[in-house]
């Protein structure tokens, strides 16, 4: 609970920034094409058709002015070398998502992810909106009235697993006319996995067993999201030959089970990889005198590994790369 004051400052800064944005929106006509950095030559110019939750969507030409309402898609767009013109909740995007997928200052904040500001989106005059079914399905019709809208539901079916991640990434790439770039990104990623595997082999860590958790304090007690194989993070680590030991009886749609530290006894022989926020040191001082924590084999044998706090666990290709880098560095020390 030590994070309040810090957060208050962020909040105040946030409000100021937003106030600024609001004013800009009233006075300036949206400027044209300030966003794109890549060469137009490689882009296809004709109509593009993509599949999404609501069926088929055809755009007359690839989209250039994109508004993203969930960070996963924001990151996908950034990975394609495009800055969105609008994104939901820029402030916490910076807190949770790696700065390898950083947003420019030019990106307008359009409000919270759960209730993005429809008017602010309309004012940006986008030519594509990418929405998340979980939060935005009730405003789909309104979004569609503003601009063609792609809606994804990452958590239906098997959840947001690795294949789903690449499917959504490729779909977005098609809509933006960036299919070549997407191929390049994914093949670079595969290359990166191969190199990571070599590094692990060199360190003698191939077929390394792990459990991965994102943990936070819930009412003074540790609450752990343990990622199962239907999550993109576990899928990514499988790609570099690691083996997930968290195998629950029932796979949750979000790709993780939420448990307390008691459940760690089931996987105490595995290796414990964790992500926590800097102001919420779940496994630090609070656990120092905890007999259960100290009694777990991976704690006794010092097999716990911390990753950076901006390792976004529901991300796209960039997050996967950052995760691999973080894990390789942590475990081959």
């Amino acid at each position: 609970m030590k994070k309040g004051l810090h957060a208050l400052f962020i909040m105040m800064a946030f409000v100021l920034v937003l106030a600024g944005c609001g004013k800009n929106a009233t006075t300036t006509e949206p400027s044209k094409n300030t966003n794109l950095g890549s060469a137009p030559a490689e882009e296809s110019a004709g109509p593009v058709t993509v599949q999404h939750k609501r069926g088929e969507l055809t755009l007359d030409k690839p989209a250039k002015r994109v508004v993203t309402l969930e960070w996963t898609y924001t990151e996908d767009v950034v990975a394609l070398g495009v800055q969105p013109i609008g994104n939901a909740d820029n402030t916490y995007y910076k807190v949770y998502v790696t700065n390898e997928a950083a947003l420019d200052d030019s990106v307008t904040d359009v409000g919270s992810r759960s209730e993005p500001n429809i008017e602010a989106i309309a004012a940006l005059k986008p030519d594509l909106i990418i929405a998340n079914a979980d939060n935005n399905s009730n405003v789909y019709d309104q979004l569609k009235a503003i601009a063609p809208t792609l809606e994804f539901d990452p958590y239906d079916g098997d959840g947001y697993n690795y294949d789903k991640m690449t499917t959504i990434f490729n779909t977005i790439a098609t809509a933006l006319g960036k299919e070549d770039k997407a191929k390049e990104v994914l093949s670079n990623l595969d290359q990166h996995y191969a190199e990571a595997k070599e590094k692990l082999a060199a360190a003698g860590k191939e077929n390394f067993h792990f459990v991965l958790t994102q943990a936070f304090t819930y009412q003074n007690a540790a609450s752990l999201r343990m990622f199962s194989d239907n999550s993109v993070v576990a899928g990514t680590l499988n790609k570099i030959g690691l083996v997930n030991d968290w195998q629950p009886d029932k796979l949750e749609n979000y790709g993780f089970s939420t448990v307390g530290i008691e459940s760690l006894s089931k996987v105490q022989d595995s290796n414990f990889i964790y992500i926590t926020q800097p102001d919420d040191d779940v496994f630090g001082t609070a656990m120092k005198e905890n007999s259960v924590w100290k009694g777990l084999n991976f704690v006794k044998e010092k097999r716990t590994y911390q990753l950076g706090s901006t390792t976004w666990t529901f991300g796209g290709p960039i997050s996967s790369k950052v995760l691999v880098d973080g894990v390789v560095e942590a475990i081959s020390k």
Binding site: M1, K2, K3, G4, L5, A7, L8, M11, V15, L18, C21, G22, T26, Y92, V95, V110, G111, S112, R113, S114, E115, P116, N117, E119, A120, A122, A123, D134, N135, S137, N138, D141, Q142, F216, T217, Y218, Q219, N220, A221, A222, P248, D249, K250, E252, Y254, T258, V259, G260, I261, E262, S265, K266, Q268, D280, A286, E289, N290, S291, V292, G295
Partner: protein
């Protein structure tokens, strides 16, 4: 209540044995069962081994350092809340008093959450001080709003519930604005007993045991409060002292618990009643018995919570406790309350307004003008501001500069106006029917029923199309109200019975909502915002829904108004005037409930408008139902349109849910109103 201690000794002893013996047995059994349940599979044999012969194994450590603290904190919390409840019941001479019904839990919790955001360093050292302060203020507010010493049990329970509602919506506001900071606090504000280690217990136990012992030592002095008022007051100052010490002890106990495990209701209500059933009256015997039963109840609830636990999240113990406790309240009402004609229900419709009465026509014109002005202004402000010069062309032409945006705003504003009006009229009707100025649709369980219905659609069947949502909300509201009405039918729809059953119903539905939120896990946030009342992104679809409700129900209410007006008199005089009181009351409540259900289906559970708008109007003008319906409707529309406009403007592009703004705007007014009504009464 008369003193009945001079009973025959054997009967008394037998009762003592059943209370203490039964309670202790239950507690010991539950204690052991509670140690056996948890996330890891630990065999019975291992649990027993851990208890009798602790080795340093992981299993034994889990039993001792994870499960044991959780169970022990359950015992301490249950006991403390039960003792607090028993004391509050004694000192207010009110069987419905408890730290949750008096708003103490909500007050303490609100201040803890606020403290976590503003003064995290102080809070981590002494959360108790914050909690105690909040609890005390809330208790006083509820007590004085409820009419102080002259209050009836129901009125006190109502004002406590309103204080809880106000503070609850403040707390939700904090949760929404500071979601990243507060998500760690508690499971959406309902208590849970999860413990990492013994720190919680070591913080709580000196307070709980010390203060409970103090209560035992002082117990004799509270016995005189059970005497009737005249005898007690002849004892003079001692009574005041006894009351004050009792209140302070109760608040300390509740605040300590809330600052560690969050607000948990119903323990303080159920446990003392259970023990009192045996006929125990003297506080010296009551307090230990109540402690044991409170502990057993809460540990039992926690065992159930752990059994229902699934791999996605834990069920809050507070929700389980509500599901156990609320039926008890229903049973209490059904068996203990005399069927009847509302005798003894002396609440007055007056809120002391008779200062100045204005003629109806000028006020009606003024209100209409303000409403229209607000509607226009509302289309100017939002995520972007439209200059006045551009507004009119954009409003009336489809190709104006801002036509697109205005098209987004118009339906939203109209929904706000319609829902506000519906809620206000509903408030007028329900206050009239239950003859209590503190009632509105949420009191008879409509809001939580609607919320539960909608949440089910949100979370259990997320694939269903969105238009099912209002249908589900209306169905939920209708079912909740129907249950309340049918249970209280035998009581002649007696206002007190309706209100109490409504509170119980709300608690059950509220617990259901919490269970669904927990099941739906982390990302159901838009559902949560919907529950706090939101005019976000409403379209012509909702305008149609609320329009249909208003077009059908308002004429009905208008037509029946003459009949409804007679409900203001007490039941005997009303039937003397030839009214079938029960049927008329049912009609008024049905129309009120349906209107509120329509509003909830469109904008979520916006509170307070149904409470405040009718008050405001009553203050300005007379009691004529048609007039007050008209003016209240306009007042309600103004309030919600204003809240909608402000909410989408001040923090743009982030939106503030209208329900929260209404609570923030409405609370001071409401407190003022309550203060004033009691102050005037005291002057008379």
């Amino acid at each position: 209540m008369s003193l009945t201690q001079q009973e025959t000794k054997p009967a008394m002893n037998w009762r003592m044995i059943s209370i203490y013996g039964g309670g202790l047995t239950a507690l010991i059994v539950l204690f052991f069962v509670s140690l056996c349940y948890g996330e890891a599979a630990i065999s019975l044999h291992d649990v027993w081994g851990a208890l009798t012969n602790r080795q340093g194994t992981l299993e034994h450590n889990m039993v001792w350092d994870l499960r044991m603290p959780r169970t022990v904190i359950g015992i301490l919390a249950g006991g403390a809340l039960a003792v607090a409840g028993a004391l509050l019941q004694t000192i207010t001479r009110n069987p419905l008093a408890a730290s949750d019904t008096l708003g103490i839990n909500a007050g303490a919790y609100f201040v803890v959450v606020l403290g976590a955001i503003l003064f995290p360093s102080i809070l981590s050292q002494s959360p108790f001080l914050f909690a105690a302060m909040g609890g005390l203020v809330a208790a006083f507010a509820a007590y004085f709003m409820g009419g102080g010493r002259t209050s009836t049990p129901v009125r006190l329970a109502l004002s406590g519930m309103i204080v809880s509602m106000v503070l609850g919506s403040f707390t939700s506001a904090l949760h929404i604005f500071f979601s990243m900071e507060t998500q760690g606090l508690f499971l959406w504000g309902s208590g849970t007993l999860v413990q990492n280690d013994w720190t919680g217990v070591s913080y709580v136990w000196p307070w709980v045991t010390g203060v409970t012992l103090l209560a035992l030592i002082l117990s004799k002095q509270w016995d005189m409060l059970e005497l009737d008022e005249s005898t007690a007051s002849s004892l003079g100052q001692k009574v005041g002292l006894a009351r004050t010490s009792g209140l302070i002890i109760a608040v300390i106990l509740a605040a300590v618990i809330v600052s560690v495990i969050g607000p948990i209701g119903f323990v303080g209500l159920v446990a003392p009643h259970l023990v009192r059933l045996s006929g125990v009256r003297s506080n010296r015997l009551l307090i230990p018995g109540v402690f044991i039963w409170g502990a057993a109840l809460l540990v039992g609830a926690d065992v159930l919570a752990k059994m229902i636990h699934n791999s996605s999240m834990e069920l809050p113990t507070g929700a389980v406790m509500a599901i156990i406790g609320a039926p008890w309240l229903i049973w209490l009402v059904l068996t203990r309350m005399k069927a009847g004609n509302g005798a003894g229900m002396t609440t007055s419709m007056s809120t002391g307004g008779r200062v100045r009465r204005f003629a109806f026509t000028p006020i009606a014109i003024l209100f209409s003008a303000i409403t229209i002005l607000l509607l226009l202004l509302s289309t100017m402000f939002g995520g972007m501001r439209i200059p006045l010069a551009d507004l009119l062309p954009s409003l009336f032409q489809s190709d104006g500069l801002f036509s697109g945006i205005v098209q987004l705003r118009i339906p939203r504003t109209l929904v706000a106006a319609g829902a506000g009006a519906a809620l206000a009229i509903s408030g007028v009707l329900i206050q009239m029917a239950v003859r209590n100025p503190l009632a509105d649709a949420s009191i008879v369980g409509v809001s939580s029923g609607a919320g539960l219905g909608a949440m089910m659609v949100f979370i259990l069947w997320p694939g269903l199309p969105m238009y099912v949502l209002p249908v589900a909300a209306i169905a939920g509201a209708a079912i909740a109200a129907a249950v309340v009405f049918s249970l209280s039918w035998k009581k002649g729809l007696n206002p007190s019975a309706v209100v109490l059953l409504g509170i119980a119903m709300s608690a059950i539905a509220g617990a259901g909502i919490q269970i669904l939120i927990v099941r739906g896990a982390v990302y159901g946030s838009s559902g949560y915002i919907w529950l706090t009342g939101s005019t976000y992104a409403r379209t012509w679809d909702q305008v149609k829904v609320i329009g249909i409700f208003l077009l059908i129900l308002v004429p009905v209410a208008w037509w029946l108004a003459r009949k409804f007006e007679l409900l203001v008199f007490d039941d005997n005089s009303a039937s003397g005037l030839g009214v079938n009181v029960r049927r008329t009351r049912l009609m008024a409540m049905t129309v009120g409930v349906l209107l509120a259900a329509g509003a909830v289906a469109c904008v979520g559970t916006v509170g307070f408008i149904g409470l405040i708008a009718p008050h405001m109007v009553r203050l300005l003008t007379g009691h004529k139902l048609r007039q007050s319906m008209f003016l209240s409707a306009l007042a309600g529309a103004m309030m919600l349109v204003l809240a909608d406009t402000v909410g989408r403007t001040v923090m743009a592009p982030t939106e503030i849910p209208s329900g929260i703004l209404i609570a923030i705007i409405g609370t001071p007014y409401f407190l003022y109103l309550m203060y004033r009504s009691n102050w005037r009464k005291a002057m008379k």
